[in-house]
Symmetry: C2
Subunit: 339 residues, 2 copies
């Protein structure tokens, strides 16, 4: 912990689509709102300039190199030693902070986390758990949302257990319902992975069966598991649909006075809609299964999204997320059949 | 052809989620609008009752058994010989009609088509091509949308060629752009299937590379290929997102007068939006690669969707779809490396 017992959270300021200044503003807002100490990883000069005249506890890790979205994860982690991503992760490993937040290259965050922190015992592959808002409030956890493009049935079962623990312990949901993302509700549907995963998941408490993607926003499940390729395609498809709908309504309201007035009257609902559907505003997605608190923020994250991601990180630290997941996994160890 | 050279189209009246009467109304509307002869497959008594007093050319195939959405495709085709699906497909095979339209169990339609009609030469797996509306008008063809849950890279290349031919020959688009559905735009992204398919697709004219699912509604590609598991998850996810958005705005407008007025003023835009996004209104998705014109309609199809599906079927017959696809495939035969 930092000064006065503050939780210290590393913010990777060089990885996102937005300029570092925007991300730094998010860190500043989080420090003010949640009383955490933000450890800014990036270009010292730039960070100091942005924070000039601000009085709150913070620290800086000088790490001027940026890992870009185009970098190959394995290579970036190996070659870009001076990057904010690698240096930030090392700071977490060495106990200079309790959590790490990055809006950067997801694959590279995962690779750096695996290299520096390692996996929790009993976990073969960490998974990214993205919260998706439901229509009636609350949210569903989609895991894996993009960390693993090819998965085994056992990977999916481990995602289910980690998701369950996260919902129970961090979000305080007593008995989370777990579903398997599939193309039909009936048993026996789906591709080979889904059919085999179904058999493995059947023994799991809270497993409710297959869930089709058109039920994503309904209140049927709390944790939905799939491989990272399918999860990422689904997540971005939903984002694209929401953007298309907003574009369509905006286009119409530019053309017609009546529609313009209608859109104006509905403005609060559209704002709510955008917030509910835009992943950016939901901030952080935890990388579950690594031995540390690592939160992946959306690449397009603005200051508000970063602030939210830091809030998620703080809560994960307070609730000892990695420890709880390790306990959850160890409770299921026998059924998992792994050492 | 039927009386006066009319194109004859079999309509499976027992397979959809809606009652047969609704589907029969769609057939009637299509016969009136497009001058086709509808061959109603189902319960004769029910069909005659619905069509009482209507004067237009039609015929009936007595086939009282229904294949349900829960039936296993292979079993349904083998055991339900008296079903509207099986009998309708046999009528197509025997030349009593030129096309077949069903809102039923997609897997069973595919199985019956394979059994009765067979595949076109050079095609290993038929694929379902669903048109998805773009924001700026026009539509994108997503293939495969659910016929094949596990695919090889070569299957994806064949889908690409069939989609290209369909866009060129049936929808009249001169140089369709083809994309590979993936989780990143860069080369080398994706799971094993996507990476290998990319290599195979590179040689294909019109191939523009990887396309992420958030670009689905943008004007970047005309044909998007993927395996049927991923395609189906994406399609239903987008449907679910659209439904959730409409539910959210409707819920808000019930609560507040201001929002109610806004929704009222925007009513034409919402109607357009629902039509553009609701797959049902887009009617027919061709099953490409089988030796005959087979159109799969959405399970929830109402009369309007059935009417649209019959329109798609008519156009496919007029443009000799299977023949054109066979020609397109044979042009690519060498690069496909299949016999």
């Amino acid at each position: 912990m930092g000064e006065e017992g503050r939780i210290r959270i590393v913010l990777d300021t060089l990885g996102g689509d937005n300029p570092p200044a925007e991300l730094i503003r998010g860190g500043l807002a989080a420090a003010r709102a949640f009383g955490v100490e933000v450890v800014f990883a990036g270009k010292r000069e730039l960070i100091e300039r942005e924070l000039q005249g601000q009085h709150f506890p913070y620290s800086i890790i000088e790490a001027p190199e940026a890992v870009t979205m185009e970098d190959s994860p394995a290579e970036a982690v190996r070659k870009k030693k001076e990057s904010s991503l690698v240096q930030g992760m090392i700071a977490l490993k060495e106990g200079q902070a309790e959590a790490f937040v990055s809006p950067g290259n997801t694959g590279a965050v995962m690779a750096a986390a695996l290299l520096q922190l390692g996996r929790l015992p009993g976990i073969d592959r960490p998974g990214i758990a993205v919260p998706i808002p439901k229509v009636d409030g609350g949210s569903l956890l989609l895991i894996d949302s993009g960390a693993n493009v090819d998965c085994s049935p056992l990977n999916l079962k481990q995602f289910a257990i980690m998701g369950q623990v996260y919902m129970q312990e961090i979000l305080g949901l007593p008995r989370p319902k777990i579903g398997l993302l599939n193309i039909g509700a009936e048993r026996g549907k789906g591709n080979e992975l889904a059919r085999k995963a179904f058999e493995l998941l059947e023994g799991l408490e809270g497993f409710v069966g297959n869930v089709e993607s058109n039920r994503l926003f309904c209140d049927e499940v709390d944790v939905l598991v799939c491989d990272g390729f399918v999860g990422n395609i689904l997540l971005k498809g939903v984002e694209g649909a929401a953007a298309a709908i907003i574009a369509l309504l905006k286009g119409a309201s530019r053309e017609r006075l009546r529609a313009r007035l209608g859109a104006l009257l509905l403005a609060p609902q559209f704002r709510l809609l955008r917030e509910r559907l835009d992943a950016a505003h939901h901030g952080g997605a935890p990388l579950l299964g690594v031995n540390g608190v690592v939160i992946v923020a959306h690449g397009h994250s603005d200051a508000l999204a970063i602030k939210n991601a830091i809030k998620v990180a703080k809560s994960a630290v307070e609730n000892r997320l990695p420890e709880r997941i390790a306990q959850g996994i160890s409770r299921h160890m026998e059924s998992l059949g792994s050492p």
